[in-house]
């Protein structure tokens, strides 16, 4: 290069090399840590019920009896995200259950589109501290499903509120939002592109 490197003494040159390698190691470590935060976040959410996340794996029924003294209202809301022809209906909008009592509620998936498509129902619970105590025995949460054109499918949700649900929680709201599953068969999104495409 143009200006000669200043003559570093031997040990400061090795010191520099050591510092550089330690910094590079720290950098790679922190970059990996950023990506490790993603699964860590999910684990943390399930443990603390942060942001209404719900454990998606089915859990066994807890048989430690029903707490007759308390009634908790569980509300169900079904919503459809954009881009999917489906309609999600629920048998009853609200149930009153005792903590510990397994309950079943019927949900109907209804594909009103003119062709088969893939979709899934994304759950969310509020208040967030209740989501740890909402045990799903059988649930379609996050399951990718394929419905033929015009097909209607009944899927039950069996759940159980654990007995140690905090006493100040007496209403739990469970929301399911329908979303298309990208990448599977041409979902609604693909063929409307041409409708928009022409105008650009």
């Amino acid at each position: 290069m143009t200006t000669p490197d200043p003559q570093l003494s031997r040990e400061s040159r090795s010191g520099v090399r050591r510092t550089v390698w330690r910094s590079v190691a720290a950098l790679v470590g922190m970059f990996a840590f950023a990506f490790a935060l993603v699964p860590l976040y999910d684990v943390f959410c399930q443990v603390t019920g942060l942001n209404g996340k719900v454990s998606n794996s089915a859990q066994a029924v807890m048989h430690d009896g029903v707490d007759q003294s308390r009634l908790v209202t569980v509300q169900f809301i079904t919503r459809s995200g954009s881009g999917l022809h489906w309609q999600l209906g629920v048998e009853t909008r609200q149930v009153r259950v005792h903590p510990g009592q397994p309950t079943e509620v019927g949900f109907t998936f209804d594909n009103q589109g003119s062709e088969a498509s893939w979709g899934r129902a994304v759950p969310s619970v509020s208040p967030s501290q209740a989501s740890q105590h909402l045990r799903k025995i059988s649930c379609f949460c996050f399951d990718e499903q394929r419905l033929a054109a015009g097909e209607r499918r009944e899927i039950p949700l069996v759940f159980q509120l654990s007995r140690d649900l905090p006493s100040d929680v007496n209403t739990v709201t469970l929301v399911y939002t329908l979303y298309p599953v990208e990448g599977r068969e041409a979902s609604q999104q693909a063929n409307t592109r041409s409708l928009q495409g022409e105008e650009a």
Partner: protein
């Protein structure tokens, strides 16, 4: 000593003037709920603490700057460390803050207790409007910006509640606990009404909750508080708090109107009826993207006027309005508009601005498509 007195007098008069200024429209509203009052008092407490510390700190500073000027031949002392002083001036703010933490925790716990609500309202944020569903009452409507676009462009004089008015306000009862559930259809919005001290993000795919018990009837205005795109400033919130009986009658009327509109679904609507209702819906909902003249602004928002592909493919036109487009700004209107409104707006889009495709869409066809 004299300068100290002058400085304290100055500080106090400054504080006094701030207090006066704070009264009218310069400060956080005291609000109309117990919680908004608590938050206001927390705000004023920490504010006055900061002012007090500020007066002392800046007092010492300006005193030193004035008193120990080099030009006046001040000789610098040689102290540069005094642990006791440092510990004291670190401990005091720490204790003050810990002192503040106690009422703050109490207020926060109150804010998070949304149990035993008398009424549940699902608030859904959409790109650039709010939708309110009264759970269990099957009363639901969308609340759009009421300020005419001409005022925004400066062609007309500003209205009294410029940018803080909607076509259909959210109506809630007074003295009852109303629990809000927040979610979004597209991006993150934030529902905020300063007078109620409620601000909660509505995150797509997730549900948040908050609550309010309003003490005084009245109209309370707020805005979206999280950047959500083009019309983030144009999706206001108006909450109309009514006496309890008035609210009950209002709710009953709305329920009747909703069912009455529902009966209208299966009768045959004349073309001009559809066009007139369609224009209403179009102006309220679709103008913010597709413009009044249907020109849109491509590529983000496609033009509808003279859109031959749209006119040729009637089914896809219906699909797009009913199910929206995933990953684009076009929301699914299936759960936002009722069959009459959807049929009317599609008919309007197919026959306005010189499109005149001649065909119309009947509400019954939409209802049948939605329920089969």
């Amino acid at each position: 000593m004299r300068t100290l007195l002058v400085w304290l007098a100055g500080g106090l008069s400054l504080a006094g003037s701030i207090q006066v200024a704070m009264a009218n429209g310069w400060n956080m509203p005291v609000g109309v709920t117990e919680l908004s009052g608590n938050i206001h008092s927390l705000h004023m407490t920490i504010f006055w603490i900061c002012v007090a510390i500020g007066v002392v700190v800046f007092g010492v500073m300006f005193y030193s700057l004035f008193r120990y000027r080099h030009a006046k031949g001040a000789k610098a002392a040689n102290f540069h460390e005094n642990i006791v002083v440092e510990v004291v001036w670190t401990a005091i703010p720490l204790l003050i803050l810990i002192g503040m933490a106690v009422p703050a925790t109490a207020t926060l716990k109150q804010m998070y207790d949304a149990s035993e609500a008398d009424l549940d309202i699902l608030v859904t944020g959409q790109q650039w409007r709010w939708r309110y569903d009264y759970l269990g009452e099957d009363v639901a409507f969308t609340s759009n910006l009421g300020t005419p676009r001409a005022q925004i462009r400066g062609e007309e004089a500003f209205g009294e509640n410029y940018l803080l008015e909607v076509d259909e306000p959210l109506v809630v009862p007074v003295n009852r606990k109303v629990r809000f559930l927040f979610t979004s259809d597209d991006v993150i919005h934030s529902w905020w009404v300063p007078d109620l001290a409620v601000k909660q993000d509505s995150v797509p795919g997730f549900i948040n909750e908050n609550w309010v018990r309003i003490d005084e009837p009245g109209v309370y205005r707020g805005q979206c508080a999280e950047l959500c795109g083009k019309d983030h400033a144009f999706m206001p919130i108006v909450v109309h708090a009514m006496e309890e009986e008035a609210f009950d009658t209002w709710l009953a009327d709305r329920r009747a109107a909703a069912s009455q509109e529902a009966q209208g679904i299966d009768r045959e609507w004349a073309m001009d009826e559809l066009m007139e209702r369609g224009e209403q819906v179009y102006t309220a909902v679709c103008v913010s993207c597709h413009q009044e003249d249907g020109s849109g602004n491509p590529p983000a928002f496609p033009a509808l006027a003279g859109n031959q592909a749209l006119l040729d493919d009637r089914d896809r036109h219906i699909d797009t309005v009913v199910d929206g487009v995933s990953g684009a700004a076009m929301p699914a209107f299936r759960s936002t508009l009722n069959p009459v409104e959807i049929a009317a707006v599609i008919t309007y889009e197919r026959n306005a601005w010189g499109n005149d495709s001649g065909d119309s869409v009947q509400p019954s066809e939409i209802a049948e498509r939605l329920s089969d």
